[in-house]
Amino acid sequence: MFKLEARPQPSRWMSMLSPLLALAVTVLIGVGLFMLLGKDPLRGLQIFFVEPVKSLYALSELSIKATPLILIALGLAVCFRSNVWNIGAEGQFVVGALVAGWVAMQAGPQLAWMGRGVVVAILLAGVLGGMAWAAIVALLRDRFNANEILVSLMLVYVAEMLLSYLVYGPWKDPQGYNFPQTITFLPETRIPRLAGGLRAHIGTLIALAAVGAFWVFLFRTYRGFALQVGGLAPLAARYAGFSSRSALWTALLLSGGMAGLAGALEAAGPLGQLTPHVPAGYGFAAIIVAYVGRLHPLGIVFSGVLMSMFYIGGELAQSRLALPKSLTGVFQGLLLFTLLACDTLIHYRLRWQRRAAPDAADATATAKGA
């Protein structure tokens, strides 16, 4: 039988290989899944892994999904590295979209002097909105020691309620046939596109720039170092004199701001108006993106693209194979699940052993004994 044996050193090699291994296992399970559903597995894999990168148009659609995922995941990576568990990026995304949408709706003759500059104002508004929403979490944690996991998650639902209230109520388009949606934003407020005819917009460039900025922040600044020490060894951070309060605020404001920016890009980009469908699950999927990318900015680019392929593949599977769209969620979940399993191999290795070792249970049982 196989036995798990602790490695003397965590394997560096394995920590890079583990996401690829997880992907391979996910694909294998996917093949089994397609076969069970009575579909041609090759066709299924093709839809998930070839179709999304087949043409310029497909790549453009891929970038629209990947951009918010990467932006949010970058912020979350800093959070998770500093041991702050913000899982409410979805809410910060929604509030960012709300505030950005409000600015976009003000555009008109009185803001004409800004020209296309209004886009900058919209994006800034999104960042501030996301930050403000995350600041509530930071404040409650700092002041009352409230659990940031629960608070940030709960605030997602509050943000969604707020969105519903606004689009069903005060912000509803008077000429919108009573649909729950705002007016369509004016053309000058729309995020500039990369090329005519494609939906891909400059948000993709912003995301790539952010990847570089976050890499520099994490690995070349003292502040970034201090944040990570706080996450890895709180006592060492205290010994060094790094404030845990400032780490909490920095991490939450940074990740809130990034989620808000993604929300602004989404609202003023592909959506062009606010509807109850602004929350598309990017905030939650980005948690998986951050982990599969090893909380590393470059890794997040790859995992962000991969997760987008699942999104698009799920939609294609629905239209071409008549499979439910929830297949996307199944694949995303599988990937995270297999990654967590594969990560065991970073600290342990498999060893073939002829007989079962009887002492393992005893050793743990007696640690307290004597």
Partner: protein, 505 residues
Amino acid sequence: MTADLRLELTGISKQYPAVRANDRVNPRVKPGEIHAVLGENGAGKSTLMKIIYGAVQPDEGEIRWNGQPVTVTSPAQARRLGISMVYQHFSLFDTLTAAENVWLGLDKSLALSEVTRRIVEVAHNYGLDIEPQRPVHTLSVGERQRVEIVRALLTDPQLLILDEPTSVLTPQAVDKLFVTLRLLAERGCSILYISHKLDEIRALCHHCTVLRGGRVTGEVDPTRESNASLSRLMIGAEPPQLQQRAHQAGAVVLKVDGLSLQRQDAFGIDLHDIGFEVRAGEIVGVAGVSGNGQQELMAALSGEDTRAAPAAITLFGQPIGDRSPRRRRREGLHFIPEERLGRGAVPTLSLAQNTLLTRTEAVSRGGWVDTDRVRRMAQDIIARFNVRGGGVDSSARSLSGGNLQKFLVGREISADPKLLIVSQPTWGVDVGAAAQIRGELLKLRDAGCALLVVSEELDELFELADRLLVIAKGRVSPSVPVAQASIEQIGAWMSGLWSTATVGT
């Protein structure tokens, strides 16, 4: 006939992923013998004990118990055979009474009152005074150890294993423990006594097995050996002798005056009206049994705890009681904590990154880190302080205790501190590294730095310090020059007994 032996091991080997912890080890223990197992940290003592106690299975070799070959598969089975063990770190529940703690480890059919009666009986027989009804958190460390020993004795063991039993005791408590152990041995119980303290082994034990790097390097009668000869067996060489020179104390660097602090957690210690001074060019040693306020005092001095009144701690006359560790470091106060992994260093980060924890020379004003310079600094520390076991990129966790401590000491010393505070400088460090670290501390003193050294090892303090203080129950004794101090006096002070009339030096 081998039945004369209580325990006989033949060719015991145990391989761990990175090290061969035991390599064909074969100690034999006679009935009623106090058998020392001597070795440095990492020599394989603990593994050997765990094998005998059934917590670890050997890869090869045979164990004979009273002449019969046995396989000890679990500590429960070891106890059934008559083997008991007292661990270095106690496993007692603080909120339960001593009797309840003992009861937990026993046959469940016994009533608590019966257990209490037997505790009193056993304690009386062996001169171990304990009160079974007291909750464990009210007991001193020595008393807790007695509870552990009584718990072990209630099973009527034929072999008692003690792992570094004296590391937490005052000298007086050590003497008391030895009386009990001798009594036990006289009544036929064999004792395996694990230690690295040469004096104790020579005073107590009948036979000594010396381990080095997993192998037996000597089987000797410790009463006929000298410290030097034992140490040669243990480390392969004699530790270098330290050069103690007369020191010239300069101006006052650190002054603590009227420092009082409430404990922060339930099992901490309140600090009461602490006052002392440390001058440039002298080493002040702080003796005391662990858990008497050392942790709390260190946190207040290092800046990890900034609740102190600003003027209660002054550095060169500047009040610093409420300053952060970074501000204090900027003024020249450096601190080396006793927990190396997780506090003094981040386990998963490289040595280069760990340099950045307390050294900011490579950080620009804007907060940018010059990583090349950080690596060079780490490289310098590694070279200057002879840190072995990896380069600047190896993780702090991968180093041995001694080498990591050399790195941490080097990191702070090379920052040219004006005041260096060190907690347990050689705790868990092998003899060679310990000697090197002590030498570095003395060199730093001769260069005019003020040093405050907290240690539980009196020998170390007598070797290093110019003046000694004792901390007990959150109070600090007056200081005495080492030349005028005796182990007996300091030992008595460690129980909190000093005349308060002279406090305030």
